[in-house]
Symmetry: C2
Subunit: 147 residues, 2 copies
């Protein structure tokens, strides 16, 4: 029974993505509460744990976010002593974000988070990897459409 209505909610890919995103946020909430981080803050740490000292711009490019989102987010983390902001000496337009010892130490606790995801998905890493790659292609197609 094919879906004939082009405006049927449950047949729409966009809504499936939207609903899955919220489900992830709900799933992460109690796990990230243990780190006192929101999900976007967690993403920032994922980036910084891999490459400390990035500029706001570079961070935004990685996460597909702009300064309007990142600047206040970082300031909240700075207020809690988890990161440090430092203006670049070579190019004074740029602000670089550095982890403090406390921010670096958070990484240990964070290791539990992907483990919980793996468990929830039944340990099928191959299926998850394929889905991830499909989503990457989807994002590229959507971004390319208006370029």
């Amino acid at each position: 029974m094919a879906q004939t209505d082009p405006l049927n909610l449950d047949s729409m890919l966009c809504f499936a993505v939207y609903a899955a995103e919220h489900a992830f946020t709900r799933f992460y909430k109690p796990r990230l509460d243990a780190l006192e981080l929101t999900y976007p803050q967690y993403l920032v740490f994922l980036v910084l744990w891999e490459s400390d000292g990035l500029t706001v711009k570079a961070l935004g490019d990685k996460l597909f976010l702009d300064s309007g989102t990142i600047t206040p987010l970082i300031k909240r983390l700075e207020g809690r002593g988890l990161v440090r902001r430092e203006r670049d000496k070579q190019d004074e337009r740029q602000v670089r974000i550095f982890l403090t010892d406390e921010g670096r130490a958070l990484r240990e606790k964070a290791l539990a988070v992907p483990l919980a995801v793996g468990k929830a998905l039944g340990g099928d890493a191959r299926t998850a990897a394929m889905l991830r790659d499909s989503l990457h292609r989807l994002r590229e197609q959507l971004d390319a459409a208006d370029a």
Copy 2:
């Protein structure tokens, strides 16, 4: 080359979902501007066009949203004359949402939106449907994990 770091951003399914969701929002923005709707407002109309007169609760169940999100959203639509709110006579706790003629008329313009998505994805409806189903399963697994 297997990904060994469990906290690597680009290998994470959650980030792929997160990034795809934002890409969809960006893609929809100019198309929904033509209807003067935000994406969540568009979702509400998708539901109402299919089943008019739902309660706030039923709407929330469909979209995985709560009254804290839906109530103010609906009030904005009501202020623009696109929907009407009416307290249920049988059960006065409930508020039912009805489309106005103007709200119903929006549907014509909305038909262009899924067409644009189809075009952006290269018309491969089968791949899109499989991805959609995978995301539905993902959402169910995540929701089931804490039940």
